[in-house]
């Protein structure tokens, strides 16, 4: 499976990351490594198999529908890098 440098750069954009050239090279090598070992994924034996997304089956894991206090505002803001209660500050979105 050949992946172009442009595809890796698009993926880093999607991940909201900027990779240095040596990091891109490192990733290309690792991706090549794993795809060489992953040829079994192309086997037709997988065609009619259902995918598993979770290790053990669970159903309807909901809690009791009871009102409970939510996180206090000051606690919720305590880790925010920029906050002016009750808001979190971020750069302008709309000019």
């Amino acid at each position: 499976m050949e992946i172009s440098r442009e595809e890796f750069m698009q993926a880093s954009w999607d991940a909201r990351l900027e990779l240095m050239p040596e990091e891109l090279e490192g990733l290309e090598k690792q991706a090549k490594n794993i795809f060489e070992q992953a040829t079994f994924l192309q086997s037709s034996a997988l065609d009619d198999v259902e995918a598993t997304y979770f290790p053990l089956a669970q159903k309807n894991t909901v809690r009791e529908d009871l009102a409970a206090p939510s996180l206090p505002l000051e606690t919720a803001l305590s880790n925010a890098p920029g906050a002016e209660s009750p808001y979190i500050q971020v750069p302008k979105i709309v000019e």
Binding site: D14, L17, L19, I34, Q37, P55
Partner: protein
């Protein structure tokens, strides 16, 4: 004072009987933690105030004559598990000053039982691997020989007997790898056996909180304390929690077990001769103990590490998507929001993690999603079916824990995430959500031991502990001088 040598139940008994004061224990633990941190960089930062606070809480309860099942027992807590009164960094610059507004359910349970956290242990960033080289807070050295990795600070702290036990995550085997590197037992419970609330997980379908301890009896005692349904964790199961410690005392009911060994176990890349020899010798010992050992064909087992790496990368890309400098974590200012996200994440995450997340982004999208990720999820189904079918006819699966001994910190040849070669034998248990135990057996290695591993049926940790106890009887644990 040798409290650190006591199994946890004995220590708790002494504290409850007021033969030993929590203050004495606190001073001893602080001294031992400071020493292992100095030697191995075992903690994110060594914080004696955390120990003092824990000791104060226990002292108050003991003064009120409360009987606490784990009174005075100290534990290391991987810095991917949230605790009150301190930071939870996941060994990442991104979360360097993050203080969680809640505590992990496992920590709350342990505190109720009288145990106290002695420190947040060092780890690879977001627990992606047990190389000991990818922490923002520096390398994690093996207490047996500091040229080698410990894999995790939790393993270093338990092996050095600075703490009575440690909790750490296991996503593809990191808990078991680092325990093997340092020569101590470790247990990854069934997925859903132990609450994951408060675990900063990277791959929600794989990650579980596990235990490292100096002995199997200690593993059993701690598992009993932390197991059980948690209404605040939707992935937790309401499955009865047996008394694991009592079950271990019923010696007449222990074994012999029917044990399966994958016939191609020796095909693992990087498998070292010392590990192979130790495994074969242990097999012979099991046969002498009347275990019925049989080679079985598990053709998809060898695909588990690649399958897990692909699934993990996609889940990590999703899970770590909310680290953007807005509500918490490192923020690097930008002229607009998108730039702020990108700069914060680029500077907040380490190099390996960034590459891993980019790979996850790649195979989450376009035609790679169907060709790679969905196919990996299908292979996951086959691996699970294979293991479940095998365990219908056998009690346990038996394999090595890691193909190699603790790597040199100066070496990069096994420091790969796609896939991580250390996970060859361990990833299958995470894919299937099955419990697994690692026990150290004698080997030519830096710690004088190698990890061997049993994988069991879901919620059958008792059998794992029983098998582990039998092995441990023949191979009493050894500990380095720190």
């Amino acid at each position: 004072m040798d409290f650190y040598k006591h199994i946890v139940q004995k220590l708790a008994g002494e504290v409850n009987a007021k033969e030993v004061s929590p203050q004495q224990i606190g001073e001893d633990v602080a001294r031992r933690c400071a020493a292992v941190h100095e030697k191995c960089n075992a903690f994110i930062k060594f914080d004696p105030e955390l120990i003092e606070k824990g000791i104060k809480d226990i002292s108050q309860k003991i003064a009120q004559n409360k009987k606490l099942p784990l009174a005075g027992v100290s534990f290391g807590l991987s810095d991917a598990i949230c605790a009150g009164g301190t930071t939870t960094t996941c060994a990442s610059r991104m979360l360097e000053s993050y203080r969680p507004p809640f505590e992990a359910s496992v920590v709350l349970k342990l505190k109720e039982w009288g145990a106290f956290p002695a420190g947040k242990t060092n780890m690879d960033e977001f627990n992606l691997g047990a190389t000991g080289k990818n922490s923002f807070f520096g390398e994690i050295k093996n207490p047996w020989d500091t040229e080698y990795t410990a894999g995790s600070g939790a393993a270093a702290a338990v092996s050095s007997r600075a703490v009575n036990f440690a909790l750490a995550p296991d996503g593809c085997g990191e808990l078991r790898h680092s325990a093997s590197y340092c020569g101590i037992p470790a247990l990854k419970p069934t997925y859903g056996r132990v609450s994951r609330k408060g675990l900063v997980d990277v791959a929600p379908s794989l990650d579980q909180i596990g235990i490292m301890a100096p002995s199997v009896l200690d593993l059993a005692a701690i598992l009993e304390a932390i197991s059980g349904y948690d209404p605040e964790d939707p992935t937790s199961f309401a499955h009865e929690v047996p008394s694991y410690t009592l079950l271990l005392q019923e010696k007449e009911n222990i074994g012999p077990f029917k044990v399966a060994v994958p016939e191609n176990w020796a095909e693992a890349p990087y498998l070292e001769e010392g590990i192979k020899k130790a495994f074969l010798e242990t097999l012979e010992y099991l046969k002498k103990e009347n275990f019925q050992v049989q080679m079985v064909s598990l053709p998809n087992f060898s695909h588990s590490i690649v399958t897990a790496a692909i699934i993990r990368a996609v889940e990590a890309f999703s899970s770590l998507g909310n680290y953007d400098g807005v509500r918490f974590g490192l923020r690097v200012e930008g002229s607009h929001l998108q730039e702020m996200y990108r700069k914060s994440r680029t500077e907040g995450f380490g190099s390996n993690l960034k590459q891993f997340l980019t790979f996850g982004a790649l195979i989450s999208a376009g035609n790679y999603y169907g060709r790679v990720f969905q196919k990996a999820q299908k292979m996951r189904t086959l691996i699970i079916k294979e293991l479940e079918s095998c365990l219908q006819s056998f009690d346990l699966l038996f394999i090595p824990a890691v193909p190699f001994q603790a790597p040199l910190l100066s070496s990069n040849d096994k420091a790969c995430l796609l896939p991580d070669p250390a996970g060859y034998y361990t990833a299958a248990a995470n894919l299937a959500g099955l419990p697994a135990i690692t026990i150290p057996v004698p080997a030519e290695s830096v710690s004088g031991s190698a990890g061997v591993q049993f994988i069991g049926k879901a919620f059958d940790e008792a059998k794992l502990l029983q098998a582990g106890l039998l092995l441990e009887k023949e191979n009493p644990p050894r500990f380095p001088n720190v």
